[in-house]
Structure formats: C-alpha cells, structure tokens
Symmetry: D2
C-alpha cells in the first residue's frame, strides 16, 4: 500500500509502448520531429483555442519557464503561501525570476486571497517604485491542499486579473485530477478562466517526466522559446516525451487515469471518515488526502507496510495514483478495521 506520492507510480504501459514505437527509427532532434509538431495541434483541439507549447522535464521547470516568460525582472508574482512555487521548488522561482518577487496571499483554506491581494496592489502602486510591479498571478489547480477553486472563484480570479492587468498562470501539476473532479472539459476550463499559460503536468498521472508549458497568450510565443532553451529544458530527444503525451491524451486516457486516482482517494476518505482515530482535514476532492493521526496510529500503519509521508506536526499525506487498485483500498480498509 504505497500512498507516498503519485510520483512513486510507474509509467503507464500505453505510454511506454509509445516510447518503444518512436524508438523504431531515428528522427529530428530538439522538437522538430513529427510527434512534437502534432502534439501542439492536439492540445489546441483539447483546449479549443490557438496555443503554443514547450516541454519540460519537471513541474518546477515548467512553472519557472512560464513565470520567467511573463514576469518582468522587477515584477511580482501573486500566489499563495502554500503554493509549490513558494515552498517546494528550492528557490527555483527566485532564480528564474531574476529579481522578480513571489508575494503570497492566502485564505484560511489555502487558496489565493483576492481581497488581501487587492489591498497590496493598491499599496504597491501608491509606493511605486519602492515596491515592485504587480505582474502575474499563479494559482494551483488542483491546489496543493488537494482542493479546487469553484467556478465562481475561477471567475473572480479572471476578473481580478483583468482589473489589475495581471497575466495568469496555472500550476496544473494535477490538472487532470482537478478538471475530472470539477466535471469540466479542458475547453470549459479554458473558457471560464482564460489563463495566459498552464503548466500541464502528466508525470504524476503516469508519464515519464513529461510536463508541458501550454501558452495561450501568443504574444509571448517567441519569448517562450528563448526562455525554454535558457532554462536548460530544450530536450534533444523531445520526441519520446511528445509521443507519451499524445498517447495519454488519446481516448482521454489522461482523464481516465486521473478519475481512477480521484475515486480511490474518495474511497480512502470514506474509510478514514468511519474511524475516530483518523481525521481527514482537507476536502478530498482530488487524489490527495491530509490526515491527522496520533503517533501510535502512524507507527502501526507503517509497521503494516503502509507507505505515506509526514506533512507537518501530526498531519500526514496520502496520495492515490493511476496505479492504486481497489484491492489496495480494500486491504487498507481491513487494516483499519483490525486496528479498532
């Protein structure tokens, strides 16, 4: 029972098959191959709009490429205190922003606080140039807390960006989990939020280091190519990653895998909810659960070959993936029952 991370899961067999297929012959390097060319059009179909793409080997790189492209070196990126880019990327944003600043505004449920952000923007503008220039917003969807912005919240973020002329980036490390849970198609999502760029993560959903920076704001098309290369992310054998992404998009495999993970998490949540010993403290809408438990419970679970991560204090994180089986959940349920 491995609930450590969706990164510990394997590559989905269909994706590995696609790699084997590409490997049958040599092909153009640096993304000039046919797979990479097709991928752009395919994603354009999915999102229902013109777009451009570059690939990245990590979510950190994808986020930083988007933000370096959008944010002037005296600009500020508005995000949450809990965002991956503020906490978990080893100060990569600070490196890639080259003078840009990550400013955080969080609500109690770890989403972007538009009221606080608005107040700061007013203050920053009054203080110009003693404060940096508000330039971009970055939200994570699904959030780091496994949660979703509601449609209403997405619309408010859109208005906020319009009002203050801010570019909008979405960290979509678990984007498929989010739209599946929200029952949105990519097109619907795009039409509601109209982001300028999306870091579309597929690695946690079954791919091998395949992340896409999807650029919707084509004004930045040329800049994106330069930043992508400068970030050390222009892969000579791009074709093997493009092919994986084409495959996972085919027949909506990506959504199927994400739904699978979400469902397992939902089942897991129900199991936890039935006990007194464990408390699920987040919404459980996607594939991450944050659980409060005492040390003794934690030790017993670990002793019974159940793997998960310590988050902070007495909180632990359980993540399901495309590989989590119904049997895993059943076995876990039995384990919990046996504890009572």
């Amino acid at each position: 029972m491995d609930f450590r991370s969706d990164n510990t899961a394997s590559i989905h067999p269909r994706l590995l098959e696609s790699v084997l297929k590409v490997n049958q012959k040599n092909s153009s390097s640096y993304g000039a191959d046919e797979y990479s060319q097709t991928l752009k059009d395919t994603l354009s179909d999915h999102f229902g709009c013109d777009l451009d793409i570059v690939l990245a080997s990590t979510g950190t790189a994808a986020n930083c490429i988007a933000l370096r492209t959008f944010c002037p070196s005296f600009g500020s990126v508005l995000t949450t205190e809990e965002s991956h880019l503020n906490n978990d990327e080893g100060q990569a944003p600070e490196l890639f922003l080259s003078g840009g600043k990550v400013k955080t505004f969080s609500t109690s449920d770890k989403k972007l606080d538009l009221l606080k952000a608005t107040n700061w923007i007013h203050k920053a503008k009054r203080m110009t140039p003693h404060a940096g220039k508000p330039a971009c917003v970055s939200i994570t969807y699904a959030t780091e807390w496994g949660d979703l912005y509601s449609l209403q919240e997405l619309r408010e973020i859109r208005s906020f960006c319009d009002e203050h002329k801010l570019l909008l980036h979405v960290d979509g490390a678990r984007f498929a989990n989010a739209i599946c849970s929200a029952q949105l198609t990519p097109k619907e999502f795009y039409n509601i939020l109209k982001p300028d760029a999306l870091s579309l993560g597929l690695t946690k959903n079954g791919a091998l280091q395949a992340e896409v920076v999807v650029l919707f704001n084509l004004k930045y098309k040329d800049d994106l190519r330069y930043v992508h290369k400068q970030a050390g992310q222009l892969l000579s054998k791009t074709r093997f990653f493009s092919a994986q992404i084409l495959e996972i998009l085919k027949d909506d495999l990506w959504l199927e895998l994400a739904s699978h993970a979400n469902e397992r998490a939902s089942e897991l949540k129900k199991i936890f909810d039935k006990t007194n010993r464990f408390k699920v403290i987040n919404s459980g809408k996607t594939n991450q659960l944050f659980i409060e438990m005492d040390k003794k419970s934690k030790d017993i679970l670990e002793k019974n070959n159940c793997l998960f991560y310590h988050w902070q204090d007495n909180t632990y994180r359980f993540v399901t993936s495309w590989m989590t089986t119904k049997d895993d959940i059943k076995n876990f349920s039995k384990l919990l029952t046996s504890l009572k």
Copy 2:
C-alpha cells in the same frame, strides 16, 4: 544516411529494456530509489575515486548546474570562444551564473589558450575589483570541433588551474567518444586531469535524456544538491534515468557504442579524404567531421537522402552515432564514387 546529429539516433535497446524493468513496480521518488543509490557507487568504481552525482535532463542543464555550484556570482568562467556554453546554450550560463561571466580564450585549433588566459588573469587581478574574479575553467572533451586535448595539454590545464586556484569543469557531452579515441580509461583520465566536476553526457551515446553531473570535489557536495533542485532538474522519477546509466556502464557498453561511432567517423573521413570535392577540416578523432564542400556537392548529397547540418559558410557537419551502420558508410561511399 542520417549524419545530422547523434541526437537523432534512437535509445539503445538495452537501455529501453532497463526502463521496462524499473517500471515493473513503484519505487521511491526524487532519487531515493535503489538504482540512483547504486549509480553513485558504480561511477565511483569507474573513476577510481570518491564522487557525488546529480542527474540532468540536458547537457546545458548539467553544465550550468556545475558552473553555478562552482562560480561565485562575481566570478569568471574561462573557456573557449567555440564552447557549447558560450554559443549553443541560449544564454543559460548567463542565467545560471547570476552575475558570473563567460570569458573566452581560444587557440587557432579551438582549444583553450592558456597563454591568453594567463595574461588576462594577471590583468584581472591587477584591476580588482574593476574586473571579475577568475574562478573556474571549463573545457570540452571531446571539443566542439571533434578534437582532443593531448595528455600534455591536459596536464598543462591541470597546472594552470593549480597555479591560479581555479576550479575545473569538463563538458563531456561526448566524453565516451573522447576517452575511447584517446585510449584512456575513466580512471586514467581522472588521474591526469583531476577535474572538480564532469558533465557526463550519455544522451548522444544512446540514452534518453540521461546526463550526469559528476562531482569530484566533495567540498561542494551540499551546494550541488541545492543548485540541482533550484535548476528545476531534480526529477521525480529519477530511477528511470539512473537505470539507463547503470545499464550503459555495464560491460562497458558506453565505450563500445562510442568506439563504434568513432570508427564509423574514421571510415567516413577516409572516404572524404579520397575525393577532391570534399575537404575534412578537423582532426576526425571522434565522431564529428567538419567538411568543406561547394553548394553543388551539398545539393547532390541532400538530393540523395543524405542528411547533415550546415555549420557555417561552406562548412558542413557530419556526425556518426551508435546507430550508424557499416552499410550506411558503404552506401555513402558508393554515392560519393558515383559523383566523381
């Protein structure tokens, strides 16, 4: 007949097999897996010394991680005008050096000119702090011109670094090609040059985006981990790349593949040398040939499905790889014969 680049070649089957094997079960993320742990020791055996490693998805990233680790943000990196890091990395070094400067000193055969470099160091020290601090040397082995530093030259570089207290980085995008041609083992190479770090490239030798920053100077061990993550290069599924590298190191497959490519280049060179129409203008010691030809010859070759890159003016680059067959060379020979 594809002589465009060793990047257009496929992944070697044994390496893909290793990926399939790793995929049979889930495993720890971010390099905490058994493959990644073993890889460090295996490389340590190959180089005959203690070392540390991080993986990177591109050669650009590997070089920049090493240089950011070594060079203070007011330091200078001494390299050649023709170096990949000066010309071909989209100003990634300038981004990652964060104030560090790439200074170039080239001999007529496109190697590092130690005399010019020494003169500049004397001047820079006299001018302190109006000039930056000489901090690192970066040489490419094999060079971008497909050439090798002789043992004597390597020893002089070592002395130069000792004298001026400079850290030494080797860009080894085609390191296996170099040591095979020079008939050096990795240990012998290490003992002669004692570099502080090596960007060990395996992508051009048959792997899928598998590059290693090999750190020999363990004083920078902790810094390297931070820089690696900050560069957006800590791969969640590192295990699939570690496994490939373990496989290519096994039974000296990496050397076998590099020798294969070198030999094909050598054969190709002989074919060119027999004509008047084409002139090989580099040493041809490794797997890259630079050829002068007139436009008409170029057009005929391309019309006959021969792929290669324009370098500059009337110079073209031909690269062989582990995939280049004896038949490819024979066919090319026939084509050239038919032209006469």
Copy 3:
C-alpha cells in the same frame, strides 16, 4: 513643520565644510585617498574590533551589498514582514540575491519572530533541497516601526544565529538613533550582538548619501570588494563621502544629532499623548512616531503647513531629524492646543 522624513533635512554644515575642505586639491580616486583609508581605522576604534568597509550611496544598496556577499544564491535571508528590504527596496534584494529568497517571520510588535523562524528552519532542513538553505538573518535596528530590540532580544538573536549557523546582518539606517536611545556605545552594541555586517546609515542623520557597509566578519573581505563594484557602488570620488563620515564621527557628532532627533520625537509624543484626537501607536523610542488620527484632524494639520506622510489606513508617520528645532515642537504644540 516638516515631519515627512529625515531625508528631507539638509546636510549638516560641518559635513558640508568637510566636503569643501577635501575639494581644495585633487586626490586619488576609487577610495585610494587618505580620507577613505583613515575612515576604516576610525570605525574600527568606534566598534572596538577589526573590520572592513565599503561605502554606498543608498541604504538599499548597502543592504543588498551585504546580503549578496553573505547569502549563497540558493540561500534564504530571514527577516521581518515589515523590513525595509522586504517592502521598500523595489525588489533590489531579489535582484542582488540572484536566487536567494527573503523569508519573513514577524512578531505582533514587528520584530523578528525567532520561534516561527526556528520552526521554518527545521522544516526547511527536513525538506532539503526542496526548500532553500537558511543562510542569513537581517534585523533592522532601530526597527522600521521606530522600536528597539532589548538587550535580551539581541542576545537571543545572537544565540539563534549561532545555533543555526546563520550570518547576521543589521540594517542600521537609523543606527545612531537606536544606540542613543538604548544608551549603548557602538562597542557595547557590537559585543552584545556580534553581527557579521552592519549597514550604517548616515544620510538620515545629516550626511549626503553616505552609507557604510561595515564588515565585521573578515572572512568575506575579498568577496565584499567584488560585490561592491558589481553593485555599481564603487564611487570614483569616494573621498567626499569618507570625509563627511569622518566628520560626523568626530566628537560624536553623529550621536549628538541622533539624540537631538530622538528628543524632539519624545517631546512630540508627549504632545500627542495629551490629546484624545491622536494616538501614538508605536513606542516612540527613536525618531519615528506612528499616529492614528481621523481624516479631519489630518486635513487640519496639513492646512496648517504641517508636513507628514500617510502610512496606511488612518495611520500617519511623523519623523524628526537633526534639523527639527524646539521651536518646531512648540509651534506644533500650539497648533494642537488650538484644535481642541
């Protein structure tokens, strides 16, 4: 009645005299003059220890030079939410840290919260390298809120830095006001806190753009010179600034001027405290007062030629300087009396 800022005050006549004196003959440039050489020794006498110095034309530059010297490009600087470097320096710290991150931990009275900082350090170390490396602390003394760290608090900060191996920087834009109020000599201050560097501000105390980075940790002596030049702060005519600082240090003029400003603020505070209409919401220990008042009161004051800055909401800042006279305070007192 100008209470806008100590920056609106003039250059003290004795300092201008010193500029005139230096101007009588030409002299070496870039700090190789006799004044600049003497200044280092003079400051060494004042602080009772070996030290090195570079000059800067702004406090922002002084802070950034110190932090760039101390903080590795993957390191974090721990400071308060309210710090000048976090709020008022136009993202200069983000530029000069080149990947370093400003992390904030504030108590309710706007001082560095050592408990929160300790918790974060534990978390950051556990997360290595997903979080940056805790590297420096920067406190402001007197704080941006016009307040002082107590001797006990200074000692705790020293212990905290020792325990976590953090370098310690002090933003001393109003350092003289602080030590005068705390009744500490520079030597006593140094012996209690043992900072690694101090941004010693003299501009707000009567000088013309004369700020000093005082380096106590001489391990960084060479780095400091490089960073200073790289920051664009090596002044060709340094001598005119060194001479001013020598003059203000002479006969403790700097302390006399700072005490003068502090006393005027103290008198002003008493006047405010006697009213109901105005509320002094900070300690008033140095030369800054933060006052809550209603809009009507504010309008009346401004109408009566009283100058001061809006801070936020219904809070306003009043600053006294070496130029503020007893008559200014009397006139202000009369004005307030007339309002009742």
Copy 4:
C-alpha cells in the same frame, strides 16, 4: 602634474555653490524636489526632444540601469571588446542583465564592428533559440580609446539598429568631451544617432557623483523607474545632484569644462609628438592620451612628480581634466625638454 584620471579632479566651485544653495532649506526626498523636476525639462531643451531621466551615482550604475531596462533577460547586448561595460565594471552588466549576454565585436581601432556584428546576428537568428536574442547595441562616445565615431559611422550605427530592430544605448561617460571635439550640439548629436538612451556622465567633468540616464525612448519610461529603484540608485537626497547638473548645464559650463580638458590634451599631444621617446598611439581627439614609452622614461616622469596610469605593457594613459592648467602643460613640456 596629475594626469591619472579626470576622477582625481575636484568638484567645480560653481557646482559646490549649487549644493550649498540647495542646503539652505529642507526639501522633498527621492527626486520629488523642484531641482529634479526642472532638470528633466532643461535636458529636454538641450537635446531638443521629449525625454525622461533618472540619476545614478556611478557610470557603471547608469549603464546597467539602461541595459537592464532595455534588454530582455534572454537578450544580447552588442558592444566592443574594449568597452567599459565589458572590462571595467566588475561584471555589473552580467548581474543587472540577469541572463543577458555581452557580445563583443571590435574593429582594429576599437570601435563597434558592424560587419562582424551583422554576421553574428544572422547566425544567432538561424540558431534560435540556441543563441540568445540580439536586443541592444551599446557604444561609447567618446570611446574608451579617447576616439570619436565619425558622423558617417554614427549614421551607419543608426541604420544597423533600424535594420535589426535593436535598441541603442550610448555610454557617455565623457559625452561632453566627445561632442565638443566633434563640434556637435547635443541636439545635432541626438538627431543624427537617435539613441534610445544615453548615460550622461558629469562626474569626470567636475561634478560629485552626478550621472544621468537620459531616456529618449519613452516606451520604457515606467520600466526605467522600477529598474532605477531596484538597482539601489534612487537617492533620497536627489536634489543635491540635480542642482549640480542644472548648474553645469547653465551657460554651457559643461561644454566649457570639457573643451578646456580637450585643449590641454591636444597641447600635451603636441609636446609628446615632438619627442622620439614617447609615442601617442591614439587619436587624441578628446581628453585621453595613450602613450608608449620605455621603462626608463616612465621612471623619470614619475620621479618628477608626474602622475599617470599604467595601461598595459609599455602603454600609459594621460588624462586631462577641467582642472588641468596651462601651467601644468608648460611644466610638463619643460620636464620633457629637460629629458632630451
């Protein structure tokens, strides 16, 4: 006889007078004072066009502010190998460009080589994004070699920038010396070259750390303010520097002082030219002479209290300033005569 640098000269008395005048009362900080507001209009009159300005305390800072404003962080700045920004600014440009690269193209007379630059641009565009984006040109006028671009050369630079859509920056550390020698008014200069920005240096011409970034391309007006503050160059007491500049512009004092220095250099050149022992190896059009002499001659001069700088090998630099008197030149002439 001090020929070391125009930086060793004093502040011109009229400029110091202006400082004393400003000091008579307190005034707004951070450039909101009347002098700073007037200065912009005055410069606008001098150059005959709309413009914006920020002040800087060093030429290095002025150059870096202009380049950071203009050059995207993946862009290249084209300049000469001998430029101050490439050699003498302690890698400040590398810090402030944040990923931008300084690319050098020099003619044999140390001016910008437009032919080489054009070739590189063609190559860089072909290689996109493996090479950075050509973004700006920076020329120095008068050059570091004391020379001038001819009107024809200036027109060619203008065409070159137009053709390749490059922004144009002029390092005018000795701008007054240049236009005086070329017999151009500021307006004429502007109309010929139409630069996007000029670093207008007045420090070497008699001011106290008073440098101006003159922005002609008003599209970058807002960006410039942010960059200026972020560079640590927004001076709280800007008024004292604005007043100096207003004074030096008044009655064309700046041109008078620069002409004075140029004339002394011209006289000095004639004296050198009459000997065999010394060889003036630059044009001598402005206030810098580069002289070849043997060690013995150098020793004699120094022994006779003649101050000058060693440049490189057997080359020495002699600089005249507004302070250099006809008597200085006569005395030097006598000294040389006595040597024969």
